[in-house]
Point group: D2
Amino acid sequence: MFFASDNSGPAAPQVMDALAQANDGYAMGYGADALSRDVVARLRALFEAPDAAVYLVPTGTAGNVLALSCLCPPYATIFCSPVAHIHEDECNGPEFYTGGAKLTLVGDSDRMTPDNLRRAIAAEETRGVHGPKRGPVSITQVTERGNVYTLAELRALSDVAREFGLPVHLDGARFANACAKLGCSPADMTWKAGVDVAVFGGTKNGCLGVEAVLFFDARQAEGFEHRRKRGAHLFSKHRYLAAQMDAYLRDDLWLDLAQRANARCDALVQGLRGAGIEIENDTHANMVFFRAPRALHRAAMAQGAVYHIWGAEDGPQDEIVTGRLVCDWSQSAEAVTQFVETLRAAR
Amino acid sequence: MFFASDNSGPAAPQVMDALAQANDGYAMGYGADALSRDVVARLRALFEAPDAAVYLVPTGTAGNVLALSCLCPPYATIFCSPVAHIHEDECNGPEFYTGGAKLTLVGDSDRMTPDNLRRAIAAEETRGVHGPKRGPVSITQVTERGNVYTLAELRALSDVAREFGLPVHLDGARFANACAKLGCSPADMTWKAGVDVAVFGGTKNGCLGVEAVLFFDARQAEGFEHRRKRGAHLFSKHRYLAAQMDAYLRDDLWLDLAQRANARCDALVQGLRGAGIEIENDTHANMVFFRAPRALHRAAMAQGAVYHIWGAEDGPQDEIVTGRLVCDWSQSAEAVTQFVETLRAAR
Amino acid sequence: MFFASDNSGPAAPQVMDALAQANDGYAMGYGADALSRDVVARLRALFEAPDAAVYLVPTGTAGNVLALSCLCPPYATIFCSPVAHIHEDECNGPEFYTGGAKLTLVGDSDRMTPDNLRRAIAAEETRGVHGPKRGPVSITQVTERGNVYTLAELRALSDVAREFGLPVHLDGARFANACAKLGCSPADMTWKAGVDVAVFGGTKNGCLGVEAVLFFDARQAEGFEHRRKRGAHLFSKHRYLAAQMDAYLRDDLWLDLAQRANARCDALVQGLRGAGIEIENDTHANMVFFRAPRALHRAAMAQGAVYHIWGAEDGPQDEIVTGRLVCDWSQSAEAVTQFVETLRAAR
Amino acid sequence: MFFASDNSGPAAPQVMDALAQANDGYAMGYGADALSRDVVARLRALFEAPDAAVYLVPTGTAGNVLALSCLCPPYATIFCSPVAHIHEDECNGPEFYTGGAKLTLVGDSDRMTPDNLRRAIAAEETRGVHGPKRGPVSITQVTERGNVYTLAELRALSDVAREFGLPVHLDGARFANACAKLGCSPADMTWKAGVDVAVFGGTKNGCLGVEAVLFFDARQAEGFEHRRKRGAHLFSKHRYLAAQMDAYLRDDLWLDLAQRANARCDALVQGLRGAGIEIENDTHANMVFFRAPRALHRAAMAQGAVYHIWGAEDGPQDEIVTGRLVCDWSQSAEAVTQFVETLRAAR
């Protein structure tokens, strides 16, 4: 019953095998090897974007902050949700990589709406040079509260960005889970929906540590390679990044793994609902946020369930507290069943 | 009827005279002249802080961002009001000078309260290294909406900072106006109230462009001089900064000018209230924010009144819009009377 | 006998008068006043550059670092002399404002040559993304060792920059002295010689603290105004910057003051040569570097001469040490004569 | 005959096995797993430094720039060789991570000497705040030209740093090769020789991508974890970094692999010398720099040898050009023999 995070499970065997296979003989460093070049071509094909500029980086945060640093001058501001990973969980990484840009928080939930996005953008640059310039809009898909924007919602947000001439960044740490949920293609969820730059995450979905950054207009990628290098994210033994991504793309492994994770999450949601437990996120891919008294969380954890709660560990027993359950590809049906039963029993 | 800003009026004649007197013969550059040294000593005396580290800079923003850069590592966050000058009107200056720190906005008004400050501080560092470290608390006195914190309110905020071991910065662009309002000493409003670093503004109160930065614990000023230099704020002809501050301190000119500005503002407030006009700020020093239909603002401006309104110039006539009136030392009683009469007539 | 620096003397009376005249009534802040707009127009006229983007800043370092930050991405390198002010005397200001660019030192003297500049540029970007990209070429005129590039020399350097597609920055802290020396127009020494961005210094030549930054192709100035603001260099009471520059431009005061300074320096050079003293700089505008035993420097200083020597104050008496003498507009013929006589007498 | 770099060969089988073994079940992220904690303990033991602060990062550049950012304020300068990796091959990474520090190049070769280091340090801070403060001394061991400092040489350099109160950083991308060469312990080559912070490289010596950063005085590591996170170098699936390092430490694999690499390089050096070919580096660990006419390099490459030459590929046939040969653990004796024979035959 380990639901702490999708970075907690093992890498997929196909990814491990690919690493082992890549570990043969000599290869030029820094991405000049054949496998690295091939992976770029395959990512372009997957995204139906033959002219995209494509790069691999080892962490999702690296993908986000490097992408944003290409889109946002240091005297501008990035528009995002107040619970965006780039705001809450990258320890000022965007501020660092952009050279001091600001983040303007849009609305008060995990999903921005066209209205509150428009309002937030309109409010900036009314003060001339006294405030920051308007910079990119950053969308997190799946959101940090487990929700999935529909394609129409994505388009509506990017349309607002377009009104103001602003580029759109997609934080896709859980890109595959969202794609699997929506049943759409990577192109549908990115450039066809108005996204300029996407981070296509592998780490949380069966890889050890690899993400692809795709600029659909390669001109926006100017400086990316130098920025990656000075950020210390250019791997010398680049083939090991490429090998992971290669396996991830082969036979749509990325999609298969995400579907498995989502299926477990579906089962969790059904189970929790069946047990009468309130669920916070109205849509979901591989994460569910549920509300329960602290006593119930404690009982579940005492039975071996591992997950995070939102709030202090030592509050009153009857206080309602949110718990987060995350499924990755490796999650078993048994663990899901056991968890739901545990909660039922403990109520 | 010019109420646009306290940076719009002329410099005080005593300040101009001091510039002319300082413009005699040779003086070593970069603050090594006698007048510059003397001014430091006099600032220490005024603040009853014989061990303070004291520096002159040409702009209030320079004072704020340099002070904050000494208090805040790049991976931390600064706590301030959402309408703080450092957030709204310094175009990412704090982010730039700190090397990428974040600003955490406290509450939803110009005055922070101990409760919402404590809540904001408590909420940071709950995510470990994923979010920023807690950094300094920055208080603006007079606030950007014209209010003045009482000494008790300042102490209550700095007490909260102290609970968490955080330093306190005071943005004192209108320090003198606040001091005049409170009838307290500069020491009362700074180190005696728990402030670690204060910017003592001269620019808005009769100088051409000079501010003093005072670190009451000189150890916190480590690196300030190098930071000022690399920020390009170390004046070579430093005597012209010093001469302004010298005149400003002599015979309590700073206080006299502020009292004059505040007295005009008092008259404005009384006049507006007498005319039945709603005033937003419940306390005031030299700024008043009043609410009136756009038609009334237009009528006043058509009669020659100059001031800023909060909102678009071209909205509906009957929409209630906030106007800001700022008095500096040079404001005349006649202008105040004329303005009130203009509003009365136009209603 | 005060030759320590051209930042040591008083401001010109015309500049002081202009300040006093500008100190009248109300003016919009931040450069929105009539005088500020007028000064921009006059600078464009002086430089025969009707489309130039023109800005005022309070210090020469601010002018340099802001200009360079528009020309140089953080992952590039600036080419300059090893004794350039931007390298030796701005405490990492260029590194700070560019967000971490490097300075590549060209040759081993104060004047770059086309050959060593070409060699330095050619050597960069041979390492791909491992090293920085090639960035702007920065030329100091007058150099920090008192020499003046001829127009042909400037053109030869900018031609090399052009070969590689790199922009050219001119640090003109002593622009007027160089112009007076060469007998050329400001346009001759800048855009006609291939300079893209020039800092036109006023501070060292009779102003209190003002410099103009001119981008001859306004597109290169993108972001300058936001960068100036976040650097805390946008003066609220901008009219006092403008008033200085206005007086400086009126009746070619800038040129007149520089000619006076240069004439004193000429007299110094003649006097020193007549006294058999070795002079280091082969050309000069308003600075002379001369070599003499430490004993002679000490004797002169004991007689009241004030200037800097290059090296420790307490070395052996007979060690040959370089002294720097700088003349500003206020230097008197008597002081020059007296200094030469003092040296003669002390030999 | 693949001698292009020690990042070109495969990872050691023990490292691959460890990855596979670590890929089992659930583990908390971000270094909170048991293996990560264990590796820290083992690194402390290896370095005989029970109180050291120890961190894992994925690249050598990350190790260097993060370490330096803890030691060097943005207004200081780092002392290093002009061919140091941090200067030539990290694309302004140190400037970026420190927030704008400078690098002062010491001497004109790959090895600093106490004399030229002392001279370089002494020359800084003579200009007060106009130039940068003195910052850390950074030593590269093995140097970028293949030489190995003796322990006495390291101590002599760190003694100079100590004279000025400056910390010492060791770039140990090839730490193991140097240790193997000197036959000393890791403690001997670091804190016992006056090193404050060392990067212990794994990537070039049989790992996929992992380096350890060790602060022997943990107080100097203040902020490291936040800096690593905001730099986007904190791996969520940290166990895969730990697993590599774990295998690397087990049974002194790090030393065994380095000895193998060095042995091949010894054979190369002997072979080349026997063939009368001039070798540039007077000591060596796993790299040899040799001088030969371009024609000879071309002939070798035509026979299948892969390595880098210093200089253009298309110059005159008889020009003497330096070639660099690097051995890693996987280098075969046959390849070495074949290469030497190829060169002999081609002369």
